[in-house]
């Protein structure tokens, strides 16, 4: 049994991974976070790729799908469940 990978585990060298799910803690704020992430394109079936990490190792620059690029903090990246291809 392996632990569920999240976007925060992904490295630049890992290349492209697939979003499996975006989770929320069930609170209204948590749902709001999730909806924002989804609106940014982080939804099931989309590919993600860490392009680089900021000088302090956080936040990440991530490509979502093919034409969206975002900066996301590690804490928020933990909400994005992924599977490596």
């Amino acid at each position: 049994m392996t632990t569920q990978l999240t976007l925060s585990d992904l490295d630049v060298s890992d290349g492209t991974a697939m979003v499996v799910d975006v989770v929320s803690d069930g609170s209204q704020i948590g749902d709001g976070f999730r909806d924002r992430l989804i609106a940014m394109g982080l939804r099931k079936g989309k590919t993600v790729k860490v392009l680089r990490k900021a000088p302090a190792g956080d936040p990440y620059q991530v490509r979502v799908g093919s034409t969206t690029e975002i900066a996301i903090r590690k804490t928020e990246a933990k909400l994005v469940l992924i599977s490596k291809s």
Binding site: D35, R36, L37, M40, A54, E69, R73
Partner: protein, 613 residues
Amino acid sequence: MIVASSASSVQTKNKIPRIVFIGQPNTGKSTFFNTVTKSNAGVANWPGLTVDFMQANLDNNGKTYEFVDLPGIYDLEGFTEDELVVQKFLENYNFDLIVCVINASQIDRQILMPLQVQRLGLPCVLMLNMADEVKRFGVKINTKELSETLNMPVFTISAKYGSGCVLAIQGIWDKLQTIDDSYKCSDIANFFRSNKVTDNDMDEVCKIGVEMPSEDVTTFSNRLDSILLNRVVGLPIFFISMLAVFLAIWFVGMPLQDPVGNFTDWLQGAAIEPSLSFLPKGFSDFIINGPYAGFAALLGFVPLVAFFFVVMTALEDSGYLSRAAYLMDALMRAAGLDGRGFVLQLFGFGCNVPAIMGTRTIRSKTQRLLSILIIPFALCSARLQVFVFFLGIILPGIVGGFALWLLYIISFVVAFVLAMIFNLSGQFKSKDPFVIELPPYRTPTFKQVALNVWSEMTTFVRNLAIFMIIGTCITWYLTNYPGGAEGMNTYAGRIGTFFQPLMAPLGINPLLTVSLIIGFVAKEVQLAAVATMYGLGEGSDALKTTLGGVITFRQGFSYCLFSLLYVPCLTTVATIWGETKSARFTIFSVTVSMVVAWVVAFGFYQSWGLIFS
């Protein structure tokens, strides 16, 4: 497709049909709005809504139509401040047509909002903006198929370069001819809880008419990022470019104030004084040194603030500002802010006013308030004049330069530490996730920059004029009354004396206290006030000698510290009020800065006394 009629209801037809623009942030929605309304829009205040937005009336075929540009949002069903504003608008005001603008190069995720509008059963025209980027990315969209699937007219445009806009605008007029009703929504958030637009719905639509490019392409922006966001040289490049911006504001923006000052002086001498000569001396004196002085001071700010916005807008449009936020995020997180907060604080060193206005780009309200709270501590160019003068007296030569540098450091440290404290208190805890878009690098166009600066500046003058005029009227009264009084006998002087028990422990004498009170209006007049109180010419050698004789380093530096940290100027206070629309927050902000100024100056003055006496 199910259309739930419960979410939107048909209303009596609006006399003036209302067309509402919606879309995600950074889609060029407002640029297109400006194209449609031919830049005739003004800011409008809607009862019950906390945010102002642009509105314009247009005539077509002898009929008037109203166009409204709602704030950019990610999601119609969310509950961030802007999303609630949009929902509230659609729930409280009847409208006739929705114009939805999306960045078509990201249609795979931006299709969400058109689908939501369709589900609400509202009439809509869809604009696929950024046609140029669509081409560059190699995204393929079959607009005919898309239009049929969504059951709404679809147009491809480039709002930035104008292509396709004529057809699209005609499309809006054509669609309006076919609509016989007005609409209004009810409880949008609740509706979507049971009628959510799912991932599947989005994929379905995209499967039919959209082809996205490969995920592995390396774009021009990627190549540029590998230098500008590089782990080693990224930060140095950022600091050098910020220094360049700061120097530009210093060498280009500041001198721009002089011609305006000369003009208002000239106007005063050539037109206003002669035309008021029929009035009693006291009354014309009031008009010139009260309301007119306030208006002139505000006008003097305009070139600097406008120049600042030119730079800011160009940086924002280029996409570099988002990258700066990415680079500086780690440091600012400790203070409960993000990278954007750092950029704004830096701009505050030029002038606090536009930096506070710039906090609009921060979406979380609490985080925005925290930024607004600490920006006034940034050592702005106006305060610099005070320090250059005083440090020249108490610390002549190169040591003064170091002291000035120290004041800059203190300015940033105080702001940073305060943000940390307020963040820990929990009151300003950010409820926004830090996820920001890093758009591709874009060339800012003259038209876009000019439009934005123009709209910012008209807002600036309109919002602040009344504050400046009231402020200078009060100062005029305090320094001229009771009748015949001068210097310490005026109300201002009496206030200075009254505050002595509070200011003496800081080593600040009554005369300088008065200058601080007057400096509240603007730091530019603080030095003039010192001169007036000592009865000597502003900046004259006599004044310098006199001050040098009566003020010790300990007193002078304490005065500088207080000047650095207390309320910067009336314009800043007015801006805080204008941006937050909260008297309570404005008073809180003023109180915080007064307390901090007092504590720091007290700490310095007393400990210096303990160490060196």
